[in-house]
Structure formats: structure tokens, C-alpha cells
Amino acid sequence: MSLPYATEEPSVVQGHVVHEEHEGLPGTIGHVSSWKSLVKVLSALIFLTVLTVAVAQLDLGRLNVVGALGIACVKASIVALWFMHLRYDKRFNFWIFISSVAFVAWMVGYILFDSTLYQHNIKEYRETHEITAPKIHEHDGGEGHESGE
């Protein structure tokens, strides 16, 4: 009697041989990472952390941001591909991740774009007005730096 639902056998859906590594037990679901590869990944991540700290000490102007973000992206990709098994996982999970990242980029990018365009309205105002927040809450009263106006 056939099973009523789609059953995806690992070898069929994942498109490559899963139990390549001899240490995997028979019938294991999913990809087993070797401990060596895990340690390698961690070493790479730590190396990149040191690198990003080193790069930040140099004064490269705007390039500092690019460098820091670039290295962070590489690190994040390494974590996603190896620690999170995306390399061996179903394609669909990969696409979920990528499309989320795309939406993240779109939101950050577009709002940043707009806010830089309207920023002069705020700047002009700030030149003539200070932030004059009245301290209306009890919990920050009596702190000593209450200037009033």
C-alpha cells in the first residue's frame, strides 16, 4: 500500500549523495558535517574577526564602512552556508533566506535614500532650533542635568 502523502527520500530531493561521509549512521536524516570542517569554519570566522578589527584601525574614510560591511557579509555567508547547512539543504530554504535578505536590503536602502533627500529640511530647522525636550517624566527627574530650556 502506497503512502498517502509525498514522501521525499533524502537521496531524491537533495540532489546529491548525502551519506558520503563514512561516519554518518545509516538512515540519518540530513547532512552530517565533519568536525574538521566545523573547526575550519570557526578558524576562518575568527581570522575574519581579527581582520575586521585590523581594517577598522586604518583610516580609509568612507571605505571603512564598505570594508567592515563586506567582511561582515562574508562572515555571515560562511555561517549560513556551513554552520546552517544551507550548502547542503533544500534549495527552497536557501531562497527563503535570500528573499528575506533582499527585502531587508530594499527596506534599508530605500528609506536611507529618501531620508537623505529630505534631511535638509531637518538640518535647516536644527540650525535655528535646539532640541528642547521638556523633562516631563518623574523617573528622570533630579538627575542633575536638567537644564530647563
Partner: protein, 346 residues
Amino acid sequence: MMADLALGNFAGLPLAQQAGGSFWFPPQASDVAAGVDFTYDLILWLCIVFFIGICGATLYFMVKYRKRPGHKEEATSTHNTRLELAWSIIPLALLMVVFGVSTYWYLRIVTPPSDNVREVEVTAKQWNWTFTYRGDGLPAGKSYMVVGELHLVRDEAYQMVMTTPQNDVIHSMFIPAFRVKQDCVPGRYNKLWFRAIKAPQDDGLEYYDLFCTEYCGNDHSLMLARVFVHDTKAEWAAAVIEAADIGRLDPVDRGKSIYDQNCKSCHTVNGDPSTGPSWKGMWGREEEMADGTKLTIDENYVRESVLQPGAKIVKGFPNAMTPFTWGDQTDVAIEGIVAYMKTLKD
């Protein structure tokens, strides 16, 4: 200038009688209004064509293929790529035309002329509009603040430099007859320009309406102003000077008006303490000051508190008030505040 696309003028209907204009719109009183309405009509006719198409077909099918004895459904093809592409691409092309027209007029709305623009400072507060006029035929070096009245000269371009105090909320300036609108956001300047090409009196109106269209609290729906359009600069200047003269109001009304504009955000009149003490019952009362001294709230105290708010502060309240002056009308203003406070004695 515009092709006559408008759905006929239904001015005969009771719906549209009072404020002039067409069935859909108030009068076209700015130089962009006709263009904006043209875009509207363009879309309207497109919509009417499509709507009649859709609803007509639906109604026809409803009658022709209704379930009844002897009628049976017939299998037809379940898709037709060409047809489906056609009814995707044609509307898209039409919409791109609409986008073009619309963007053209939008750019006209947001781009002020490069010269000869008069500036009016607009301050939006809960819940009134203050317009400040300077120069341009008004006595030099003086500024005229008018609450609730925007005065313009016909055919002149005006730029509104709009702001809202930081402790206030967002408002939005909307003049339907000009088809313009812009939010006033606390902590920044926003600008809005327009050119009136028509005056309200041309349509038998006294003024055009100006609304606040960003919800701003309790009296949002009462935050209105009137827009007057004058034919000559001289008439305009006279009107501004007259409107700015608070002395023409009786002292209590004057005080109330000043209170609404300047004091309301920190002083209530119902007895609840806010950032500052409530004015209710304050007049003539003996109050303890922050430094422990006691004094009676009288004319001198009020005057000092308006001009130098930090001098004597009622105990329990922060030193948070900015000084106020009204140019050469300061005395008249303080007289008004005092008169108003007296009415709140009990």
C-alpha cells in the same frame, strides 16, 4: 486650456451648491488646479470605460447564462495566452501614460518658480494656524502674525515655510481650491508653494477653506483657516495689518486667542497641572514659589512670567517656558492674558 473632459457640471444638485466649482471639485483657484483636475478626468474616463466593460460583461453573462431548466454549462478553453497578455499589456500602457501626465503636474506642484516668490511663515499648532507676514509693502522690519487667516495677492507665487513646534504634533495644510497639501512635521521645515489665479469673490464666496488634514487630537476638526485673495498689493497689506491687530478684539477674546496659540500646550484651564500650573483659579491666589517665597498672582507677576519666565517659578514645576513678546503689541497682549485669566478665577 484644458480639453473639456469633465463630467458635466451638476451644479444644480443640492450636493454641490454651496462652495462653487464643479460636481467633483471646488473652484480651480490655483494655476495647477486645472491640470490636476484634467489628470483626474483622464483617469475617470479610463475607469468608466473599464468599469462599464467589466460590469457590462458580468451583467450580460448573469442574464444570458443564468441557471435555468434546459440550460447547461459548456466547457470552454481554460486559458488563452494572447487574450490574457492583451488585457495585461494594454492597461499597463495606458497607466504609463497616466503616470506621465500625473508626474508632470506633480512636478509643477512641488517646484516653486525660481524668483518672485513671497514667503509666508506658517506655524501649525494644536489647533490653529498662524501666518507670519513680512516685508512686501508692509512696514519694514516688522512682522505681522495673523491667526487663522491666510492673505494672498492674486497671480503672485507664495511659498509657505511651515513648521510645528517640537512638542506639538503633525498637522497638514490643505487648501482644496488650490489642490495642494503638505504635512507640517515637528522638528523640520516643510515647504509648499502655490499661486492663486482666482479669488473667492469671483465665485461669490467669502474665502477659500484651509483644513488640517493630519489627525492632531481633540479639536482636529476645528483647526481651520480662511484663505483670502486680494487683487492688489495695497489691499493685501491693509488687510494683513488689520488682521494682525489684536487690539481690535475685546481683551478677553484677545487673551483667549493668545492662550490658544501660545500657552495651551503647557497650561490647562481645567485645573489639571501640566508642564506648567493650570490657570484655573490661579488669578489672585497666593502661590508658593520654587525658592520658598510666597506671592499673589497679579498683573505684575503675569507680566514678569511672560517676559522672563525663569524669574519666579511656582513650586513643583520645571523651568521650561520660553519668553514671549509680541513686538509693539506686547502690552495689549498681556492685558488680554490678564483679562482672560480673570475669567478663569473660579
